[in-house]
């Protein structure tokens, strides 16, 4: 490794970068768009479930029930409808997620200590959302039931009693259960892959297409020096993107890293090395910018999005897919970031993921050198 040779490649690569505004656009505009898009749009939290009510009963008691439902942060009563047919219509149009139908004689049944069923209709076209909404409404009705039970017992002349069991739930790591808090680590992983791997997937292919690769082969520079020289400018550009993402996460979404900043930078650098060596390998293997452009999203962006535990939990995947996720670098990086961002873990807990990323980068770098050597470098 000769520093002067590496420097010559780096400087040249830097000139390419600043003279091709499209790569710069990709390097800085894409991360900004992604953070804004994901931060604001991709909220996996369920709040204010749109609810319509059909109240056939029409008593003070039924109106109180609806008022309590509306007052809870989880439901928003958007309309009071005349009959079930109208409620079905609203569900068909997707104007509401949930319809609560209170049958006639509901209050009278309660007062007579008879069963007093309520009908709940849910739009299941988004199963995840419907599941969570069903959970909310069940919990809500359960609470109502308890209240009636207490009233009943108290009426029986017992002294005031409290239910004996009470789960005191404390949520660790992401106390507010805000999905944004884990979206930012995920988005950093995706940004690094997009900028680090997609940009670099073009740079060796470009040399082949312009015929300059033939010159490079005739020059006294080793494959290793060539790879390192090419990687350096992209390394710093992508690292700048990481800092932008962290800053935007703090300023816009108030997401503060709990653990050591430098640990996070070290992890990002390792993952970046994986992304860049992967991009360069795609480039030297395909030798065509067009093909590289097709291959790169498939092997870099999509797996880091889908198979990394970012949007979709790996634990819910079929075993075959779960096995595949073990070779997705983003999985290890997101594991580290979640530990750093939410759990305030240090290296003693996180080192296995660090080690895996290091080994991945090393293997990819060696493959790169082998491919280039075979081409005559």
């Amino acid at each position: 490794m000769n520093l002067r040779k590496i420097g010559a490649i780096t400087r040249k690569e830097f000139y390419h970068l600043i003279r091709d505004y499209r790569s710069l656009y990709l390097a800085f505009a894409i991360p900004l768009i992604l953070i804004l898009l994901f931060g604001y749009a991709l909220s996996l939290d369920v709040e204010d479930v749109r609810t319509v009510v059909v109240d056939y009963d029409g008593t003070k008691q039924s109106r109180d029930l609806v008022r309590r439902l509306d007052a809870s942060p989880y439901f928003q009563v958007v309309a009071h409808l005349k009959n079930s047919q109208e409620a079905a219509d609203w569900l068909d149009h997707g104007w509401t997620t949930l319809a609560l139908v209170i049958p006639p004689d509901w209050t009278r049944n309660i007062q007579a200590d008879r069963e007093a069923p309520l009908q709940v209709l849910l739009d299941g076209s988004d199963p995840n959302f419907a599941n969570i909404s069903a959970g909310y409404i069940t919990a809500f009705l359960e609470r109502e039931n308890t209240k009636y039970l207490h009233n009943f017992l108290n009426r029986q002349g017992r002294e005031q009693m409290k239910p004996p069991l009470e789960g005191r739930i404390r949520i660790w790591f992401n106390e507010d259960l805000e999905s944004r808090n884990f979206i930012i680590p995920g988005i950093i992983a995706v940004i690094i892959m997009i900028v680090g791997a997609m940009l670099t997937s073009l740079v060796i292919a470009r040399e082949y297409e312009n015929g300059t690769m033939e010159t490079i082969k005739s020059l006294p520079i080793s494959a290793g020096e060539f790879i390192v020289g090419k990687a350096i400018p992209y390394f710093f550009i992508t690292l700048a993107d990481v800092l932008i993402a962290v800053l935007m996460g703090q300023v816009l979404f108030g997401i503060v890293m709990k653990a050591n900043f430098w640990l996070m930078i070290t992890a990002s650098s390792l993952y970046l090395a994986v992304a860049i060596t992967l991009g360069l390998l795609i480039s030297s293997a395909t030798k065509s910018q067009l093909v590289a452009n097709q291959v790169a999203p498939l092997v870099t962006f999509l797996p880091s999005m889908l198979l990394s535990d970012f949007v979709f939990p790996v634990l819910n995947m079929p075993p075959v897919i779960q096995t595949i996720t073990y070779i997705v670098p983003a999985r290890y990086f997101i594991d580290i970031l979640k530990g750093i961002y939410m759990k305030n873990l240090d290296i003693t807990y996180l080192w296995p993921s660090f080690a895996v990323l290091f080994v991945m980068a090393a293997i990819l770098a060696v493959l790169n050198v082998i491919v280039l050597k075979r081409e005559g470098m």
Binding site: A8, R11, L219
Partner: protein, 254 residues
Amino acid sequence: MNTSTNRQSGNSDAIQVKDLEKRFGKFVAVNKVTFSVRRGEIFGFLGSNGSGKSTTIRMLCGILTPTAGQGTVAGHDIFREPEEIKQSIGYMSQKFSLYEDLSPFENIRFYLGIYNVSPTLWAERISWVLDMTQLGDVRDRLTRELPQGWRQRLALGCALLHKPDILFLDEPTSGVDPLTRQHFWDFIRQLASQGITIFVTTHYMDEARHCERIVMINQGAIVAAGTPDEIIRKACPDKENADLNDAFITLMKN
């Protein structure tokens, strides 16, 4: 001990190959060629497209590893020391292979770095090359904006920045007008007189006359070797006023 013998023979010969062979699977691209190039000589390497010419040049420049045979370039073994060979030769190919979105100055700096020239020499070498190529006025323009002939001069200048022992020119003048070619050859002769060995391939037979000695290759094997006049006499003994073109066509036929 092998290297010591190489160095000794290197005193007179810049390039020496014996039974050099390159196969791609079953296809024999270069079939046991043997020749040598003397120091400071302008040596022509001629052949039609697909004759094995490019493969041979690539083996000599340390880009391709030969399948069999032996050889030295600038005193370095072509099997074991490709990096040392690359450091002691200059190579310029038909595409001029410059970075077109870089200026001449930036291209020159790139080559200085890659050739590991000490920075104390940079200023001197840069002005030397800009002088020689007469590109001083356009040193900061983008290379892609320069005319073909100027880019060719720049490519040649870049290949000389580290003062190589041997200069390989792979069809250096294709697509260049006759006047520029004339200037180019004047310059090449000047370099040769300074002791730099020139190894050149060309399609233009009038250009090949500038060479002191020529080897012609067809279907991977050498079909003629010698001075231009010797080759013409041997290939076309019966034809009056035969030129190198006639010899080339006769030799490439079979």
